[in-house]
Amino acid sequence: MAKYKMHILICGGTGCKSSNSLQIIENFKNILAEHNLTDDVQVIKTGCFGFCERGPIVKIMPDNTFYTQVKPEDARRIVEEHIIKGRKVPELLYTNPENKEHVSDSKHMDFYKKQIRIALRNCGFVDPENIEECISRGGYEALGKCLTEMTPEQVIAEMKASGLRGRGGAGFPTGLKWELCAKNKADQKYVICNADEGDPGAFMDRSILEGDPNSIVEAMAICGYAIGATKGLVYIRAEYPLAIERLKIAINQAREYGLLGTDIMGSGFDFDIELRYGAGAFVCGEETALIHSMEGQRGEPTLKPPFPAVSGYMGKPSNVNNVETFANVPVIITKGAAWFSSIGTEKSKGTKVFALAGQINNVGLIEVPMGITLREIIYEIGGGIKNGRQFKAVQTGGPSGGCLTAKHLDTAIDYDSLVAAGSMMGSGGMVVMDETSCMPAIAKFYLEFTCEESCGKCSPCRIGNKRLCEILEKITDGRGTMEDLTELRNLAAVIKDTALCGLGQTSPNPVLSTLDNFWDEYVEHVVDKKCRAGVCKKLMSYVIDREKCIGCGKCAKGCPVEAISRTEYTAPGHKLASMVIDSTKCIKCGACINNCKFGAISIH
């Protein structure tokens, strides 16, 4: 077989796929065929590269050229210029926003410089639909090592020594969790992979499943060996069709290669994996709720104890870890606990994947060592705030987390420092906000989410969060009082103290952290009836400057509620009478501002 001289890696993750990356792949293949290069150049559809802001991404190997925002029609230029003539296409290279220079090699991009990719090691590197590519990267060797060279106790000891903590929420030590499950004797145990990533704005688990499904298959088998389970179940969101497909392919290929099934690698160990589909319930991220959902019940959490390690799926001991946690496991086995624990902080080892989103230049998926500062993430990796605006806050941990501010920029991020700062790691959503975000409105946004996702089982969450939300609505509508702020704080504290499950216990965090960090903004809403970010519609009015208005009437045409009419006043120098907005009819949609070319409309 002729050896390929070049590889073209194209991101086939959901984000880039949404921007037509499959067409780009098609075009590459056709154009390479036109030039008889099919044997020299291999086109590979990979998982996410992480740099979603500039997707679709195309990477040319071996010269490590990183093309961004590639359109299907760019394929021809890349082939004819770069592949054939060896000349890079400068317009498609990433441009350093500071010095406007093109950067061709991803290693030299700020976005990648500070990252250490462990969980994402194969994402954007291998073809996730080809197990051989995974094997040639050392895939399944960790499983082999466990099965042939280690006892289950040694595997657990290694996991414990690594210091790996659950990447899905509270950060429970993974090795300890395995040990608890291993201790319980039962005829059947289960390894469960939580792939029901429900945190809005976090998509690392999906990216791992799309980009490197084999690492999850391998890790689940390792876990099965360690705890004495022969069955694995992946609880995956039905909204992730691509991840489901890739995972199915990986499972089937692993079975074909004898890496799942009976007597794996001659060790006598049997393990297989089935899929279960989530159906859109955030609370199913909580492990007892997840287990009920897998059993065909409403996804309501139940009290712990009993913990799943004692009585889980079908009443059998079960170990639940999320995707990112599992993705770390094979590397820990291969490279050793000592290596892994050398990365990170004292109590939080290794790396964490964050989904960087919001008002930031480089939106994407990043993997950074624990202990990195927010400043490094936002300003170096993230390339700073969009449109040169001012940083205001960063929300971590999704609806369970809180908002951190400029004063936290130099805090080293790990599980414990985030909790101390009133937020949490959560699954790793990181949403950056600038001065156009209103913090009471953000708190309300999260509470609306929690209200919608609350299972309704316990009163503090079912009713309490609704009341929190209503108080926040009062505040953002300009009807709030200072007593409301007191009530808000007390109620939030009680919900935190009394709710049944993790979702309820953490749901007030967005309220408490914004109250702590943005008290002035709340007071402004309540006392001055002002929203400095210009978000709260009820606190705004749209006004037409009658001197600037030329009376063209475009605003009135675009107004969906016919709130704009003509006055009898014609400004000096204009031919037509100026327009006026009836504030009682105005719904503050902003259409008129967009339509006015003369800057005559403003918000007060």
Partner: protein, 158 residues
Amino acid sequence: MANIKLSEDKVNTIKEIAKSFGNRAGEVINVLHQVQGKFGYLPAEVQEVVAHELNIPVSRVYGIVSFYSFFTMEPKGEHPIDVCLGTACYVRGAEKVLDAFARELNVEIGKCTADGKFSLNTLRCVGACGLAPVAMIGEKVYGRLTPDQIPAIIAEYK
């Protein structure tokens, strides 16, 4: 108790799906996924047949259908529109995009237009946060949306 009325081929479709899961009660969610995949939504009669085939109370099936947001008892439009309201999209203005869709189509969120052409729903994160705000029409993803683009997008489907 009521008699369940549904066309024969639909009943048979559901029966086959239930059978492929061994008519096991624990598989009810998987069965509902497939049935909704076939019919687009889960009207009461369909749930009754599912309950019947899995030998579980229909109240339990409805308890599940009404719990999970992925399941719907409302028919979807010919072109289902889903606007992402994930955090990344929210802070980049998804609400305004949603409003624009609702205005343009004159339809409530969660409902179908009178002509059955469009239905408007929200969802939490399709994972294309780099393109925020995002909406999906059918399988097609529209990214970096602004409210003023909406009329032109709708026009593509009219």
